[in-house]
């Protein structure tokens, strides 16, 4: 104890901030109370900030990490090559996939020789940290700024490829999530990645 007692001030930057002595006006309650009344009353006529959620939606940042999407390339082939990096990077172990060899007649479906025949994300486990997106070397998985709806059963949250893969005719725009360099790079059609 002895060492602590004379500790004094450690720096010269400190400032005592709490004033505990009350002035007479503070002692008689009313000035502060009336001030408080004024503040709350002024809010009575203020514009309400409430967003009526289901009807009005608050703008969500474009890079918000919400529901996942499995991208297709320009020709509509699935980009995922089932390398498993996303599953490995997932701290929640929410991603499950089964890799399969592409058959010759599936050239138009899958981009690479390997593809994920099963790709499931357990959205109840998922913590939407975005590490899978970061880990993906094939520009295949992205998070979007749509929210995952709630549901009644646990099994409803295991999103398979039917939900995750973007529809061919309804492409999900993820360009806002990508760096300008990547977008610039994607214009270069000489690269094998971009064909």
């Amino acid at each position: 104890m002895s060492a602590n007692q004379n500790i004094g001030l450690l720096t010269n930057r400190s400032k005592v901030v709490s004033v505990k002595k009350m002035t007479f006006m503070e002692r008689i309650y009313f000035p502060a109370i009336i001030k408080g009344f004024g503040i709350t009353f002024s809010h009575l006529f203020k514009k309400k900030v409430t967003i009526q959620y289901p009807e009005v939606k608050r703008p969500i940042a474009e890079i918000y990490r919400g529901k996942h999407v499995l991208k297709r390339d320009d020709e509509g082939r699935e980009r995922c090559t089932a390398c498993g990096l996303c599953a490995l990077a997932c701290p929640a172990e929410a991603i499950t996939m089964v890799a399969a060899e592409r058959k010759p007649d599936e050239m138009h479906l899958y981009r690479e020789e390997k593809y994920a025949s099963v790709y499931e994300i357990n959205n109840l486990r998922c913590i939407f940290c975005g590490l899978c997106e970061e880990a993906c070397p094939k520009e295949a998985i992205f998070l979007t700024n749509t929210i995952v709806p709630s549901n009644y059963e646990r099994s409803d949250f295991i999103y398979g490829k039917d939900v995750l893969v973007e529809p061919v005719d309804h492409r999900v725009d993820v360009s806002k999530r990508q760096t300008p360099e990547v977008l610039n790079f994607k214009k270069d059609k000489n690269q094998s990645h971009n064909i």
Binding site: V49, E55, I60, P91, L124, R125
Partner: protein
Amino acid sequence: MPQYTQVAPPEGYSAPGFFATTLDQVVGLARKNSIWPLPFATSCCGIEFMATMGANYDLGRFGSERLSFSPRQADLLMVMGTIAKKMGPILHQIYEQMAEPRWVIAVGACASSGGIFDTYSVLQGIDKVVPVDVYVPGCPPRPEQIIDGFMKIQELVGNEPLRRRYSPEYRSLLEKYGIK
């Protein structure tokens, strides 16, 4: 002022000066607009729940700003955050203390399934202890998602027949969780 949908009157027989509907629907309508939640907030999701109660999202619009911390008075148990194995029995007890009809909503990954905490000390989803009606994903979920889950509950509440709580199916469901 943005347009918002109001609750439609219950379907029923209506004529001038005369309006008939089944009791179930009226009670369901009343119940769903007066859900008093019991916020069982343990961690991060609890903060997002505060945001939901706050001015920007205002759960009070649904008639739910009266939080009842006493389980007797609550209609909806909102479990938000990690439930450790040490907490499990307490959650179970709270559920037992609630008066019928009661609903449970598991908010967030931890409450729903354990989330990233797949560890020896964390309960892998509160549905191991109490029956859950609606799960809300996210870690933590956005207030929008919580409201979304809340509206799912409202849907459930509105359509629930009065008899359900006395039905043998419901009893057996409770028995599965060891509730008398």
